[in-house]
């Protein structure tokens, strides 16, 4: 008997475990999972609908069950538990076990239900509604995954396996309770570099730069379409629900056939669709009617409901109009969702554009508003303290700043040039030793002596002089990119730090390191000058270091200590609750639950 089967035998002898939230590994797969079989009796089933072959650095080729949820379904676990108790199966190799697996799979395994959230405009609130729906379904105990085939964003995250995906799908995965999201939830990520080009990240790895024309003529018909199909198949065979998000409007008739983010994805997954319309700017009925009418008839048939979103006013005033809309389109209005008050990381650099400051705290943290600013959600946790984030484009705006944070950027050297041209660089240097100055990723690279980009990864090939705050050199080797999750402790205080790294420039610093990891160190620090630099995104998420940094800025720390993860978690619940309150529960069940147990 293999050692694992001895564990399985115990699981069979024991009672059904339910959801074991006290386990340190919980949830191993998804929130609210069934934990009876921590060790799967079928391992290794070698069924590609459930697990996959993977290379492990330690063990070589292994059967990888990271994304399998099958044995953690309540119905499956209870059935298998009962059958194993009754059968006296001896363990792996027993043909009866294989037979039981086949039987269980035939009885329970089916394609996940796919529902796509479409938007009449890019700011319709699709991703917010999708986030809420992920949580609502997961609360009911289902395994749920988000999906967006193609996302354009400069905010990204790194999966446990080191793949890069968009920030918003990572957030949705959290709402869905997925503990280790796969890159398949966002197989195509476009990161605009300016000058009309985008870096395309395909299935978690950089796949070259494309102009918009080449993207549609070359990328979409080939690798894009393949990745879309692979991802959808993968997710649908593993999750009860696939909550898909469209991109922009599905009714862009000038690119209808080459749009793989909307109806083609819906078709590939045979998804029902919900159309979300933002009512804030008015014209929402025209947007709704126009969107539906411009869809091809076979696509329009997929649209099962409309959500009128973001109403700042009286719901009753819109009821009659909503009924008229239903009559006109034949599509029921599932709900009129009011403008909800919640605080979650936002995707829209659009709305960021006009913003001068966020927060109302007394400690002003100045953040240079790089033209190519990226991963600016790193700054959100600072707002748990008495802080105002001020986005500055001139040295004058830095007046009164108690700290400076240089955020990430998609293009370090050209944003560094911008920093000099605006005069902000000079002002930062004059603040050295006066206020804490922190660089994250691209901002950290700028703090060094020199930035060498011989292959022109960042812009024009050549060397750029850095701010010289650290004795550090950064070089872009021309290929490769580090995308990794990160964990360590802040050396001066021992506070834990977690996050992720995404960068292609590599730095060598002769400064004192800032963070200790299991295998080495990271970052640079000069405590006397209050200079901090790190590649770690998410550096402020944990309260320890965040509060340490802000105390250097003279910030009066709040009594309540907020962990950013808990904050996000609470706000997901708040959002899900607000959306569920506003939608017609019966219609919701008809769309999502039909044919479910």
């Amino acid at each position: 008997m293999k050692p694992v089967w001895s564990r399985v035998s115990k699981e069979i002898e024991g009672e059904l475990a339910g959801t074991n939230t006290s386990c340190p590994y919980h949830p191993s797969h998804f929130r609210n999972q069934e934990c009876t079989f921590c060790y799967c009796p079928f391992y290794p089933c070698e069924d590609p609908d459930l697990g996959e072959v993977a290379e492990s650095p330690r063990l070589g080729r292994i059967w990888d069950c990271t994304h399998c949820n099958f044995i953690h379904r309540k119905d499956v676990a209870s059935y298998v538990h009962g059958r194993l108790r009754a059968s006296g199966i001896s363990g792996p190799g027993d043909p009866a076990l294989e037979e039981l697996f086949r039987e269980t799979k035939t009885k329970f395994h089916r394609k996940g239900k796919a529902v796509m959230i479409l938007g009449a405009t890019s700011d319709a609130g699709k991703s917010v509604i999708a986030t809420a729906i992920c949580r609502i379904l997961n609360d009911r105990g289902y395994s749920v995954t988000p999906f967006k085939s193609q996302n354009m964003s400069l905010n990204s995250r790194v999966t446990h396996k080191g793949h890069e995906i968009s920030m918003i799908q990572d957030l949705q995965a959290r709402a869905a309770g997925v503990s280790r999201p796969s890159f398949r939830i966002n197989p195509i990520l476009m990161k605009p570099k300016g000058d009309g080009m985008s870096q395309v990240v395909l299935e978690g790895v950089p796949a070259g730069d494309y102009s918009s024309a080449d993207y549609y003529s070359e990328f979409v018909p080939g690798p894009g379409t393949d990745a879309l199909k692979r991802s959808i198949d993968f997710l649908q065979s593993r999750y009860d629900f696939v909550v898909m998000e469209g991109a922009g409007s599905p009714a862009e008739i000038n690119i209808y056939d080459s749009d793989i983010a909307n109806m083609r994805a819906a078709k590939a997954a045979d998804a029902d669709c919900i159309l979300v319309v933002n009512v804030e700017w008015g014209g929402s009925y025209a947007y709704a009617v126009g969107t539906l009418d411009l869809l091809h008839p076979e696509d329009r048939r997929r649209v099962k409901a409309i959500i009128l979103n973001n109403l700042r006013g009286n719901v009753s005033g819109m009821r009659a109009a909503a009924e008229e809309l239903e009559e006109m389109t034949g599509v029921p209005v599932m709900g009129i969702v009011p403008h909800l008050d919640f605080d979650l990381p936002k995707e829209d650099s659009e709305s960021f554009r006009g913003v001068k400051s966020v927060g109302k705290g007394r400690t002003v943290v100045a953040v240079p508003k790089f033209p190519r600013i990226s991963n600016f959600t790193d700054l959100d946790p600072l707002l748990h303290e008495d802080v105002t984030l001020r986005f500055v484009s001139s040295p004058e705006e830095m007046e009164g700043a108690a700290a400076v944070v240089l955020p990430g950027t998609k293009s370090t050297t050209s944003d560094l040039e911008w920093l000099r041209r605006t005069g902000i660089a000079g002002r930062i240097l004059s603040l050295k030793g006066e206020v804490p100055i922190m660089g994250i990723c691209g901002g950290y690279q700028m703090m060094g002596r020199i930035l060498r980009d011989p292959f022109g990864t960042e812009g024009e090939p050549g060397d750029t002089e850095g701010l010289g705050l650290f004795d550090m050199e950064t070089e872009w080797p021309g290929s490769g990119k580090k995308t990794e999750r990160f964990g360590g402790t802040y050396i001066p205080t021992g506070d834990p730090i977690s996050g992720y790294e995404i960068h292609s420039g590599m730095s060598s610093s002769s400064e004192t390191p800032m963070i200790k990891t299991r295998t080495g160190t990271e970052g640079s620090i000069r405590e006397d000058d209050m200079l901090f630099g790190t590649y770690v995104h998410g550096i402020f998420d944990k309260p320890g270091f965040r509060r340490h940094f802000l105390s250097k800025a003279g910030c009066a720390l709040s009594v309540e200590i907020v962990d950013h993860d808990d904050h996000v978690e609470n706000n997901i619940d708040k959002l899900a609750h607000g959306v569920m309150e506003a939608v017609d529960a019966e219609l919701f069940d008809r769309i999502f639950m039909e044919g479910r147990l």
């Binding site: 009449a120 000038n254 009925y285 025209a286 709704a288 009617v289 009659a320 109009a321």
Partner: protein, 261 residues
């Protein structure tokens, strides 16, 4: 001669397009004035006679080369503590929609009597199902005075074809004859990618596309602070820049023609 710019939503860029039209007509020696029946705003411009009018109309007047006048925007809706209050030429008035509408028509007629071309701007979207029958600033105006109209859609938020099509579709069939065309506003990139969509929209609605306006960070006074004539004049610089950027992509002469000029 008259023309009306209707929006697919508020903020779609009607004010800017109307200002461009005013400016272009004035440059071409046409006597022109702006008009908007009613404005929802908490800020305004005070005319020479002491009445508040919408900032957009003040700016358009300056673009037309004339002084702002109360008749250019007879009704202001101001959000106040008790809700939205209707002001008629500066004084709060509790009259019926119909009575207000006759005032609006009287103002329009006075403007039309003084100038050859009246460039009108609608308010919000003309097809709000929840305002049906109460809307005096859009189709009621168009119908009553037979004003050829152009729909302005904002492409920045996406869904512009759906928005223009949906607006056209929701306008009652008997009124669609006033809808002569559409304009796509705030576009970035290579216009040629839009052509297939524009052609399809032209063929299903019978409206023609009068052009695509590039995205501009226009420092035309926004409708959120009180604004003087001087600052309106400053706004003309960026308006002129936008006009010259649109020389090839917007058919202003075509729009003058449908206005009856």
């Amino acid at each position: 001669m008259r023309i009306m710019f209707l929006g697919t939503s508020s903020n779609s860029g009607k004010t800017t397009v109307a200002a461009m039209m005013c400016r272009y007509a004035a440059i071409n020696g046409i006597s022109v004035a702006p008009f908007k029946a009613s404005n929802l705003s908490s800020s305004w411009h005070i005319t020479g006679s002491g009445s508040p009018i919408g900032i957009g109309q003040a700016f358009q007047a300056v673009a037309s080369g004339i002084a702002p006048d109360d008749d250019m925007n007879p009704i202001l809706l101001r959000p106040e503590k008790e809700g939205v209050v209707r002001y008629l030429k500066g004084s709060p008035c509790a009259i019926s929609d119909d009575a207000a509408f006759s005032e609006v028509l009287a103002s329009f007629d006075r403007i039309a009597g003084k100038y050859d071309l009246v460039v009108c701007e609608g308010s919000g979207s003309p097809v709000e199902l929840n305002l049906k029958g109460r809307d005096i600033a859009n189709m009621r105006m168009v119908r009553e005075r037979g004003i050829p109209s152009v729909i302005v859609g904002d492409i920045e938020r996406g869904g512009v074809f759906a928005a223009i099509y949906g607006t056209w579709k929701l306008i009652p069939e008997e009124d669609r004859r006033y809808l002569r065309g559409f304009v796509i506003n705030r576009f970035r990139g290579d216009i040629s990618v839009l052509y297939p969509g524009i052609e399809e929209l032209e063929s299903i609605t019978g409206m023609r596309c009068f052009g695509v306006i590039p995205y501009a960070d226009l420092r035309v006074p926004e409708e959120d602070t009180s604004v003087s004539e001087v600052s309106c004049r400053e706004g003309l610089v960026s308006l002129d820049e936008l006009l010259s950027a649109c020389r090839d992509s917007v058919d202003l002469d075509g729009m003058l023609r449908i206005s009856g000029t």
